[in-house]
């Protein structure tokens, strides 16, 4: 991933000639003294969205899945669309912290913490959907293979949905551990600055971190190992998610292309989400010096690259459908493009393939507002990609007698809004109470010569 050109004229990663002391005080201000004025209204907004979602989900669980707009033909729609959407969002976090760590991309340091937080919250949002989409969510524990009195009836390891359980479970666990591990030194910083109860609390979570060289040495090895594990994990997770569709017989789902297509799409949407969040966060949290234009540009490049790959995947899908000679496949894609859900397909292509192409232009990359709009568009487009894959494939499958259409109900829309509420509530709480920028890592890249040096060294290797 040679996005960063080797140039000695690169601007420094962190602006404002920060010292470690300044970094500490900048980052710790928010957890210690509280956030800016915008935080509370934002939090209340997120919380009300979350409450709306909770009401919707409670109602749905009490009354039945029938409160969703699904029918005998379209058995999944908003639920699994949201699930895949959120899992995809999550992927950027892991990618930034793990893959870029392995690739020794130092620019990741100021965004990896929040990107990882985003991963965890996104996976939490994602995890809600497979749970509530069950007809009997109170029996969700049946998907785990535990010894039982039913003659020990286990689970079906052939079901991609079960693979999902393990993949998402592992992904969440490893991401959480990785995130927490990365935060231990910073929590220790907070601890050492705090008094009273807060100190006790931070003490508990900093596990007695003392910054000794031996610990740092093992810590770095652990991080590298985890990164090395998380990288194939992140690829496997979305591959497994894509297997939900790829292993099914539904035309439009049954595609070997899906695993790489989904992974790239996930990275694409994840980076777009990171961009959206960072652009807001740097403004709201006054982190312009830490999350700089250079970061945004770098991420824009990832977006335009992955967006183009996604575009390629769309084209490949069409080609294979035509080349396969299978009338069902051909119909499924014709129907996607010009059937009743053509509008969704148009949004998908417009937002995912066309809009990011603007990012080839440096001017666009450097206009924060434009980048922000494009990142939002990509998020919208990627949501619609999953919607198109799920609903536009399901609604017209093999037997024309079963063809139907789908429209969401209020409950579904509220649940969808609620998932954003959950995400932003958690994210805002994270911004408020935890160090949003990885202080210990940023401190290593403060000096401009170090940053460029290591870039040159690493990328040339």
């Amino acid at each position: 991933m040679s996005i960063i050109q080797t140039s000695t004229l690169k601007p420094p990663l962190i602006l404002g000639r920060k010292t470690p002391t300044q970094v500490t005080s900048d980052v710790c201000t928010v957890p210690e003294k509280g956030p800016g004025r915008l935080w509370l209204p934002a939090f209340l907004l997120a919380l009300s969205a979350l409450l709306l979602g909770i009401v919707a989900v409670t109602y749905q669980i009490k009354v039945g899945i029938g409160t969703w707009g699904l029918n005998r033909t379209v058995g999944w729609a908003f639920d699994i669309t949201n699930f895949v959407f959120w899992v995809g969002i999550g992927h950027a976090g892991t990618l930034i912290s793990a893959v870029l760590l392995l690739l020794r991309q130092k620019w990741r340091t100021s965004i990896n913490r929040s990107a990882e937080a985003m991963t965890i919250f996104a996976v939490m949002c994602a995890g809600v959907f497979p749970l509530i989409h069950m007809g009997r969510p109170w029996l969700c524990f049946w998907v785990f293979p535990y010894p039982n009195t039913r003659g020990s009836l286990w689970v079906n390891f052939r079901s991609p949905l079960l693979w999902d359980v393990f993949a998402i479970g592992t992904y969440f666990t490893i991401s959480l551990v990785f995130w927490y591990l990365g935060m231990i030194p910073d929590v220790a910083t907070l601890r050492d600055r705090a008094k009273g109860f807060r100190r006790k609390l931070y003490s508990l979570f900093s596990l007695g971190w003392n910054g000794s060289a031996r610990t740092w040495s093992r810590y770095e090895v652990t991080c590298l190992l985890l990164a090395a594990l998380a990288t194939p994990l992140v690829v496997s997770v979305h591959s497994v998610v894509s297997s939900d569709f790829a292993t099914a017989v539904v035309p439009g789902w049954h595609t070997t292309l899906f695993p790489p297509y989904f992974v790239v799409g996930a990275v694409f949407s994840g980076f777009a989400m990171v961009l959206t969040l960072m652009i807001i966060a740097r403004k709201v949290m006054n982190f312009e010096d830490y999350i700089t234009q250079r970061h945004i540009s770098a991420m824009c490049k990832v977006v335009v690259f992955t967006g183009s790959v996604v575009g390629g995947a769309y084209a490949t899908e069409l080609f294979i459908a035509w080349y396969s000679g299978s009338p069902y496949e051909q119909f499924a894609f014709n129907n996607r493009i010009s059937g009743p859900y053509a509008w969704a397909y148009a949004i998908m292509v417009g937002c995912n393939v066309v809009a990011p192409q603007l990012l080839w232009i440096r001017k666009v990359r450097e206009t924060i507002a434009l980048v922000f709009i494009i990142s939002i568009l990509v998020n919208v487009g990627m949501w619609f990609e999953r919607f198109v894959i799920i609903v536009a494939s399901l609604h017209r499958d093999f037997l024309p007698s079963s063809w139907t259409s789908y429209a969401p109900t209020l409950v579904e829309i509220a649940t969808f809004v609620g998932s954003f509420g959950l995400f932003f509530t958690l994210f805002l709480l994270f911004c408020r109470f935890l160090p949003m920028i990885s202080m210990n890592e940023v401190k290593t890249v403060l000096k401009p010569h170090e940053a460029t040096e290591s870039f040159g060294k690493d990328t040339l290797k």
Binding site: G66, G135, W142, L410
Partner: protein, 1040 residues
């Protein structure tokens, strides 16, 4: 019981006791409280059902009453065994009682499967030679037995200024009062009439005669809302006998039907379907395969099944019949004096080809018509006579007694009533205030009748205008007999003690004569008096044994024609059929028809039938204005837009539009039997939630009453010929259509190059099939390639199903049968509209062709029980796996409801419980089959191949120590099928019927390219067409 002390000894012997309620923990169950609880439970039941507590207890036998009192481990359950067990009932064991279906006047013999003293399923009785299977209406007629909206006892009304007020009175009181009033009429030499539908029960007819003979002036008028009066009238003219001939479709080689929907609603559909299928067997040698010409303006089920369908303009039907008569008379050398009106080219072609065929197969043809014009029917008789069909395909020696209605007498009765010369009117069965148009004047004439007595199970339009309303019992709780075909009797006996205090007409009339003979004795005495003497002496030693045998078998048929002679042809003058009304320019011809499930509307209270998608339109819970797509397009209307239909007389109704391919452009077709009072009960039948909509229309009823457009011209109840205008009113009323897309041809703009036709239904013509059976139905896929080695052996049986699409008429009897057998809930109109129907079985209906030249196929679709089931692989919790006997099992209690299986099912046959679906009427829970689990919310379900029947048969084998029972298993859909289109059996047994069916070259599986290896096979449809419609050039009538 209440002062019971615990036995300390008993307690000490218990090692570890735990308790389910604090009372139990105390060691003393307060029996008083308990009794009260049960009492309460029973009282609730009593309120629901109106049945007395004692009768409930008797009925319940071994029932469970659960009392919940602060449970720690779930409710304490109580078991109440019989005090004295009846000898013939073993709790939990099912038994069958022979009875007769009372769903319509056809009178098919039926078997009621009962358990613990209550019937749970109705099935056809194979002992009756001419029937077999049971139609949708028959299957569903079980449910009203448990309808708590049925009348109990009687009511007296008090006329006030605005309306009548009803107050309940006991039978005793009602009998007293009515007897008194009748005596007064008798004394004054008053005029009394009984108005009823067709009564096929000889004992009831005898009771009516006896009753009426006590009056000086009296009469019994029968009329059928779905009238066949013109046929009776015509035969009175041509054969001097007022009967409907027994149509023998099985003997006919050429069937010409002029708008007679004989497979759907006409006279005796089950019988006709069975005979029709018998006459069309592509595997027979020599080939027995009739050719079916159908002339109609709308699209009927029968028309959709015909080999040659000609669409006639409204009013053209008469011209077509006259034209045919002209051609045939010429061939027969009879002089035709009737003027011929030219018909359209297409119709002319059809008539020419039909006449040639009819003439070629003289004596093997059958010409029928659904027309209400007696002169036209007379012409039909003339044709049949000229072709020598009488005595061959039309049996007058043993005619059908299934329709006896006389429209002329009805008109006369109304006139008499208007003149005030009728003193008392007893109305039973039919609902004339609803069935007859206002112009008939029945309602206004009723005011001039001093005493109106209504016998009915429900409050309806007529009972609301009556002085006394007496509860009429359901056929499953009463005695009756039936003579549907002359010489073919069947008996009805109670399968359950009366749930309501209701009586039959026979018993009621007898009571009013002052006699208290029980209903059973009335029937028995009639049989001893009238039928026993006709039974050959050698057959039975005594009447007792004869009656017992008939009761056991459910039916008794005279051997042969037993000397009955057919009435001879009586020559008469050729009368020109009256000119039919043709729609004025810019107007449409209105055709009123009846839907297969709703018939005349007498089943409007039955939610199963309301929810059954019409086999042609696939719409449930509504009637609608059927328009041809072309007309709709011209008027800029789409499906669900509401229009106001108004006639010149100012009558109008507002209905949603239904696009009906294959219908004539100048026609609007509307179903009768809707908008009946009482359907208000279905307002909230579906699940209640945020966006739920009621199952009834804005006026609170299901559909609109179209009988307002019926005509009673010159004494015949006419169902078409009214010219109407159609005006869109800008509104919309979403129809609950279970199928959105109606063709196997995918929309051309979405199809791969060259178009695409899916081959779910394979069809061929008879000639192709006979010439080249190997290729007639298309490519056969090779099933033997698999990446996996086959781990799974089927050492015992491997169950499968075969569906013969040649035999299937799409009548949907199987759908309701499956619903009754498998406790499938009713979900209501809104859920149906949202495509969340729960029927395990559906009938896919596809159109091919363009304009009015439409070919229709019906394909029953249910779980295919794939050996490589895509649904099984994806279930995370192993809730659906394969059995060793080849069943795709769905384990409800393991299902967590991910719906992944349904998504991955290529046949989309899985049904999800989106909500809890409680019954609108709690008492109807009594109809539940105790062998099948009630599925809870959030659980997937689907066709189980009636595994409960398989298991039941195996259990019986094991009890009896033999292995023959499993060979006689009939699954519910198979049992109900009048045409035996569904075959169930063991695929491992090469001798089984299914194995032999599957081995034929007509056999194929749906979507074989997916290698799902279904256990359900289809036998391709063979039609007797001259040429096959090329399906690649076809229209897309209503692409969703």
């Amino acid at each position: 019981m209440s002062d019971e002390k615990t036995n300390p000894e008993a307690k000490s012997s218990i090692k570890s006791v735990y308790w389910r309620s604090p009372e139990e923990k105390e060691g003393v169950l307060n029996q008083d409280d308990l009794n009260q609880d049960i009492q309460k439970a029973l009282n609730t039941q009593e309120q629901d059902s109106g049945a007395s507590r004692r009768s409930f207890l008797k009925l319940a036998g071994f029932s469970l009453a659960a009392t919940v009192a602060g449970c720690s481990r779930g409710p304490v359950m109580h078991a109440i065994p019989y005090l004295v067990s009846p000898e013939e009932i073993v709790p939990g064991l099912s038994y069958q009682i022979a009875t007769t279906c009372a769903g319509c006047t056809a009178g098919c013999a039926a078997l009621a499967t009962c358990r613990d003293g209550r019937p749970t399923k109705l099935e056809g009785n194979p002992r009756q030679s001419w029937s077999g299977g049971l139609c949708a209406v028959g299957q569903a007629s079980l449910l009203p037995l448990y309808d708590s909206h049925r009348f109990s006892e009687s009511m007296r009304s008090k006329k006030t200024e605005a309306r009548r007020e009803f107050s309940a009175i006991t039978w005793k009181k009602a009998d007293e009062e009515i007897r008194e009033q009748l005596a007064a009429i008798q004394g004054a030499g008053g005029n009394i009439r009984i108005l009823s539908g067709t009564i096929t029960s000889p004992s009831t007819l005898a009771a009516i005669d006896t009753f009426l003979s006590g009056f000086e002036k009296s009469g019994h008028v029968m009329f059928d809302p779905l009238s066949a009066s013109s046929i009776l009238e015509a035969h009175e003219r041509t054969h001097k006998t007022r009967v409907v001939p027994h149509f023998r479709f099985d003997r006919a080689k050429i069937i010409a039907s002029f708008d007679a929907d004989f497979l759907g609603t006409w006279i005796s559909p089950v019988e006709f379907s069975k005979a029709y299928a018998k006459g069309r067997n592509p595997d027979s040698s020599p080939t027995v395969f009739s050719k079916h010409y159908h002339f109609e303006s709308r699209m009927s089920l029968t028309g959709s099944r015909s080999d040659h369908r000609a669409v006639v303009a409204p009013g053209e039907l008469r011209d077509a019949i006259v034209f045919l008569w002209d051609v045939i008379s010429r061939k027969a050398g009879i002089e035709n004096t009737l003027p011929i009106t030219p018909v359209s080219n297409k119709v002319e072609e059809s008539i020419q080809s039909l006449s040639t065929e009819l003439w070629k197969h003289r004596g093997q043809g059958l010409v029928i018509s659904g027309s209400s014009d007696p002169t036209l029917q007379t012409l039909i008789n003339r044709m049949n006579h000229a072709l020598g069909n009488y005595g061959k395909t039309l049996d007058l020696a043993r005619p059908s007694l299934q329709k006896k209605g006389n429209d002329r007498e009805l008109t006369q009765l109304i006139t008499d009533m208007q003149e005030g010369s009728i003193d008392a009117l007893i109305v039973q069965g039919v609902n004339p205030a609803f069935d007859l148009p206002p112009e008939a004047g029945f309602v206004s004439a009723l005011k001039n009748v001093k005493l109106v007595i209504r016998l009915s199970p429900y409050q309806d339009e007529t009972s609301q205008l009556s002085d006394y309303v007496c509860a009429e019992s359901h056929s499953l709780e009463s005695w009756n007999d039936t003579e549907a075909i002359r010489g073919s009797y069947s008996l009805t006996q109670p399968t359950v003690p009366p749930l309501q205090s209701a009586r039959t007409l026979r018993e009621t009339l007898t009571r009013w004569q002052g006699r208290t003979t029980s209903d059973r004795d009335l029937v028995r005495e009639y049989w001893r008096r009238e039928i026993w003497p006709t039974v050959p002496m050698t057959s039975f030693p005594s009447f007792e044994s004869f009656f017992q045998k008939s009761l056991h078998d459910g039916c008794y048929e005279h051997e042969g024609s037993s000397g009955a002679k057919a009435p001879a042809w009586v020559d008469s003058d050729l009368v020109a059929p009256k000119e039919s009304v043709k729609p004025k320019a810019g107007e449409l011809g209105l055709i009123l028809y009846s839907k297969l499930a709703m018939l005349d509307g007498s089943h409007a209270h039955n939610p199963w039938l309301q929810e059954l998608p019409d086999p042609v339109t696939k719409v449930s819970w509504d009637n609608y204005a059927c328009l041809s797509p072309k007309t709709a397009k011209a008027k800029n209307l789409s499906q669900g837009d509401t229009v106001i239909i108004s006639s010149a007389g100012g009558t109008q109704i507002r209905l949603p539009v239904q696009l009906q391919p294959g219908q004539h452009e100048d026609v609007v077709a509307v179903a009768l039997g809707y908008g009946r009072s009482g359907t208000e009960r279905f307002h909230g039948i579906g699940p209640a939630w945020l966006e739920a909509k009621p199952s009834v229309g804005s006026d609170g009823r299901v559909g609109k009453n179209a009988s307002v457009f019926l005509t009673l011209l010159s004494g015949e109840l006419g169902n078409n010929g009214v010219s109407v205008t159609l005006k869109p009113d800008g509104g919309r009323s979403e129809l609950a259509c279970s199928q959105d897309y109606h063709s196997l041809t995918v929309p051309p703009h979405l199809a791969p190059k060259g178009g695409e036709v899916r081959d779910a239904v394979r069809s061929t013509t008879l000639s192709e099939w006979k010439n080249d059976p190997d290729h007639a139905i298309g490519e056969h896929h090779d099933h033997d390639k698999s990446l996996w080695k086959d781990d799974h052996l089927h050492p015992g049986a491997r169950w499968g199903l075969a569906v013969d699409l040649t035999a299937c008429t799409g009548c949907s009897a199987c759908v309701v049968s499956c619903q009754a057998e498998n406790n499938i809930p009713v979900v209501g109109k809104d859920e149906m509209r949202r495509h969340r129907e729960m029927h395990w079985m559906r009938i896919d209906r596809y159109y091919q062709g363009e304009g009015t030249d439409i070919e229709t196929v019906h394909q029953p679709m249910m779980c295919q029980h794939c050996a490589n089931a895509p649904c099984e692989t994806v279930c995370p919790v192993l809730a659906t796996v394969h059995s060793k006997e080849g069943l795709n099992q769905q384990v409800y209690n393991r299902c967590v409801g991910t719906r992944y299986c349904a998504n991955n099912c290529p046949y989309k046959v899985r049904r999800f419980n989106w909500f809890d679906y409680p019954r609108e009427d709690r008492l109807q829970n009594m109809s539940l089959n105790p062998d099948v689990t009630i599925r809870s919310r959030g659980v997937m379900e689907k066709c189980s191949l009636c595994v409960q029947r398989i298991q039941g048969a195996k259990a019986e084998d094991r009890r009896n120590g033999n292995e023959n029972g499993v060979e006689t298993i009939e699954v519910a859909c198979q049992q109900s099928c009048p045409t035996s289109a569904i075959i169930f059996g063991d695929l491992n047994d090469p001798e089984s019927k299914i194995s032999r069916s599957v081995a034929t070259k007509r056999s194929y599986t749906v979507l074989p390219e997916l290698n799902t290896k279904p256990g359900v096979f289809y036998l391709a449809k063979v039609s007797n067409q001259d040429q096959h419609n090329d399906p690649t050039t076809s229209a897309h009538p209503t692409s969703g």
